[in-house]
Symmetry: C2
């Protein structure tokens, strides 16, 4: 690493940069393995050499400090290599959500002004489609999983592995400041153009440290420690895979990368490699638990952070009953992401799974260094009484400083010096945050607010219901009225009528869980609920369908 020359008596100006994370695994566990599917495995020593080779290779093809490098890949050790090599060069790692539409991808690459693209061969058709509209990309590096060679008209410059093999070592990294940008990506909502968020080295480092403390040093279930075997089941393009690849690397855990998500392969890897710590969205956890092979795989003690959308109590109960230590993780693209986890407090450790499931599915307790508040529509702080709901606002060292090149949207995000999450939440007197809804999804009926998440949570407690999405549709008298779109579990399809679900919901009204005015007017059963590219309910589309079906 290129070092500043120090004058006598000048203290070293220590910078919190990502390269610092690579020191502990080299002393702790240099021979621990990093595994890719059933394809290859290598050690931390190899990882570090490959990071240096990747940086040398990218330098050789003209990537310099400040340049943006766009990555399209499944969860893989190569992706992990870019997590370090690109920022360590002073370049910016742009993680691409390859589930986006070609138009969105084109917009994001042009808006970020990416200079190079590192892309897994499976995604070449996506790039092909928009290639002639890209304005800044000079170089394409292709990752191949071997097997048959890819066919494309794109001007491929170099193969990833060839680039590493040809790299000349030692590579001298430039001096990086902790406030230099390390990573960026776009958040693609259901409306409007994608918005770019970006994070500095210092932000990522503080996020790593706090996340490690939160998952490692509090007495709860699901502790993440250096002897775990880590496997992400969240795309690595998705908000740094929640930061856990950095945590795992600092701790020197064995790491397993599953490539393209296939339930069979995931279960095989959990079993064969002895995976003990993962993170995923509720849908993926449900998919794994309901897979026919799940019965044969030893899942007892598997620790899973569940995030991305709200964690249904029924699913948590199912996981806990299987001996899986599952708990909620909450955050957003704008916050690096982690803000809260559904940690149990010591006095809850002996509770039964029904009561534990109520806690671990909460949005959770804030991480060290995170300041979370709820505010009313006038911006006043609301009490943490477990009753009043308001918009959740946050201050954390790792909150994005702006939307990239979007001053107007940044103003809205950072109104009054607080990052506005656009989530509606309550905070109880134990400090647990519960997000009750998205600001835009909350159903406004007769001057009252009804939480769409509450309705969904009640609906999925019916044994036949697989998924449920609640939306408000326009109503002349009440402003909006709640309705529900649901899917049934396979065994129940065609055997259950929507009325039964409504009757089931009425029991929650009788118990006072759902307010009387919150009782959905209609439940419709469908084969599949429309989702966004990252697997969340597409409420705009759902609302459209529900309105149409009403006519």
């Amino acid at each position: 690493m290129k070092e500043k020359i120090y004058e006598p008596g000048e203290c070293y100006d220590y910078q919190l940069t990502l390269d610092k994370l690579l020191r502990t695994p080299l002393t702790y566990a240099p021979d621990r393995e990093i595994v890719y599917r059933d394809r290859y495995r290598y050690t931390y020593r190899d990882l570090i050499e490959r990071i240096h080779r990747l940086a040398a290779g990218l330098s050789a093809i003209g990537i310099n400090k400040g340049d943006k490098v766009c990555i399209f890949d499944y969860d893989s050790p190569r992706y992990l290599e870019t997590y370090f090599a690109v920022p360590m060069m002073g370049a910016v790692m742009h993680m691409m959500n390859w589930r986006s539409s070609p138009e969105q991808i084109m917009y994001m690459i042009n808006h970020a002004r990416d200079k190079a693209v590192i892309i897994h061969e499976d995604f070449l058709p996506l790039l092909d489609e928009i290639w002639d509209q890209l304005e800044t990309v000079e170089t394409i590096v292709v990752i191949s999983d071997g097997g048959s060679k890819y066919h494309t008209a794109l001007p491929i410059d170099i193969d990833y592995e060839e680039m590493l093999a040809d790299a000349s070592l030692p590579h001298r990294f430039p001096h990086i400041d902790e406030d230099d940008t390390a990573t960026m990506f776009y958040t693609t909502g259901t409306t409007g153009l994608p918005k770019g968020v970006h994070f500095t080295h210092k932000q990522l480092m503080l996020h790593v440290m706090s996340e490690t403390v939160m998952t490692g040093s509090y007495h709860s279930i699901g502790r993440f420690h250096s002897n775990d075997v880590y496997m992400p089941i969240t795309p690595m393009f998705h908000v740094h895979a929640w930061g856990f690849p950095y945590v795992a690397t600092m701790l020197g855990t064995k790491q397993v990368y599953p490539g393209k998500y296939e339930p069979e392969m995931l279960l095989k890897l959990i079993e064969k490699e002895g995976v003990t710590f993962s993170h995923c969205v509720p849908t993926v956890l449900r998919m794994i638990l309901s897979h026919p092979r799940a019965e044969d795989v030893h899942l007892q003690g598997w620790k899973v952070v569940v995030g991305g959308s709200s964690f249904p109590v029924a699913l948590a109960k199912q996981a806990l009953d299987k001996g899986i230590e599952a708990y909620d993780g909450y955050g957003m693209s704008e916050t690096c992401p982690l803000l809260c986890i559904g940690n149990l407090k010591p006095h809850m450790m002996e509770w039964d799974n029904d009561r534990k499931a109520e806690i671990v599915t909460k949005t959770g307790l804030p991480l060290p260094l995170v300041d979370l508040r709820i505010i009313d529509s006038a911006g006043n702080f609301l009490p943490h009484d477990g009753r009043r709901t308001g918009e959740l606002v946050v201050r954390a060292p790792w909150a994005t400083r702006s939307y990239y090149d979007e001053p107007e949207m940044t103003k809205e995000l950072w109104r009054d010096g607080w990052l506005h999450t656009k989530d509606i939440a309550l905070i109880d007197n134990e400090g647990y945050v519960t997000v009750t809804d998205r600001l835009k999804d909350v159903i406004k009926t007769g001057g009252e607010w009804v939480s769409s998440l509450d309705l969904e949570n009640c609906a999925t407690q019916h044994e036949a219901v697989a998924e449920a999405a609640a939306v408000g549709i326009p109503d002349e008298k009440w402003g909006e009225r709640p309705v529900i779109m649901a899917t049934l579990k396979e065994a129940y399809r065609g055997k259950i009528e929507s009325d039964e679900i409504r009757n089931f919901l009425r029991s929650f009204v009788d118990q006072g869980v759902i307010p009387r005015y919150g009782m959905p007017d209609r439940v419709i059963l469908v084969d599949a609920i429309p989702k966004t590219s990252i697997g969340k309910y597409n409420k705009i589309e759902i609302r459209r369908i529900m309105e149409e079906s009403c006519i």
Copy 2:
């Protein structure tokens, strides 16, 4: 807290300041207790209110941002309150080593330009002695443990508890930058004037985070977590009690402060309050283990970081055999202090206690973010082969940036941009650092170096030896020759001759553990070995005595 008013669109400029540590205990464990001896106990809610009261009280007596406040106290919850309140005001907490001589104390208070002194009544005679030579102190606040009132001619301004009781809340703290100085103290060696070191909020915060990760997230013995009961047995004036009061507070553990160290009281508190995590110097651990009451107290599972001077293997073995999870902690005044701990690696967890004792007594493995190297006398990096020894140099985010107001000594400390520890060490290929000696204590004989620590470690393995100090005394032919001063355990006093210890040492020469030229010329037995104010061997004095006894 006084807050900057933010314009729309301006992101919050998050500062890593110590107040941020008080958030997690308030959500996690607001009713957990903080205990002082058998005197009083209060909750985290009370702690936080008292921190606000202390700041308000200090403001009322004229303490402002940038002022220095000197503290003389035993380990107590009040000391903990100053750990937060003083830096949160933007003032600097000057921790006073009350074991120093009155002349040193006078020098330190004048050199630091302390504006106020907060002092436990037991130390008033010390202050009395130098009062008319103090140049800057305007206010004296006295801490009383109750009982009989203190008698002094000093112009006492206010009683600590009265000041808190009279404080008007809410107190508005000023805006603090993370690079503002939070704490300072002096390191008093055996020669020369005391040197001041100082630490910013950011440095302390990064030290806390890394220390928490190192003791909480690596799979080893001695994990520190939120359900522990913490009791320091290192003076809180001594390098922030190694940072652990800050860690304990962030984690919301129950905290027990023992006041003046009395073995009986320490054992009583361990038993009664259920203490599970502590830190101390080897002498204190030995004192506790050899106390007659130690047999009755349940010490199984007690976790103890042992530092301050080298941790003898025999003592570690004794602790491990009692089921105590003891391991070395290494650092220095200039480094906040923690740099390494003697963590076991996973494959060592099943070893027997003899082998474990060899590892946990090593200087240890570096904390995350710490870069440690060994250099030869020309400043070249030496290989980590477990054989070559050189001076240990360090880069860490929490290394002091200078000796306070001492540019020449700072130059020596930070030569070539590395902090020079003046410790001689080797690093093995597992990454374990072993300090073999102090640069100034290493015995230079016939052109070779002999480690005084190695000799001491061998000598204390004799069952009769309690403590042993090795020094080099001048020799015309060889430059220096090693000699040893030792004390015997009570049961052996008068029953063992020094020749038996020499014969015992000769067996280490035969095994090749001590080089032939390292065999001490003489061993003398004494009743007590001279020590410095913080309990380390006073080698200057020992050398003088050994030389004289030679004539």
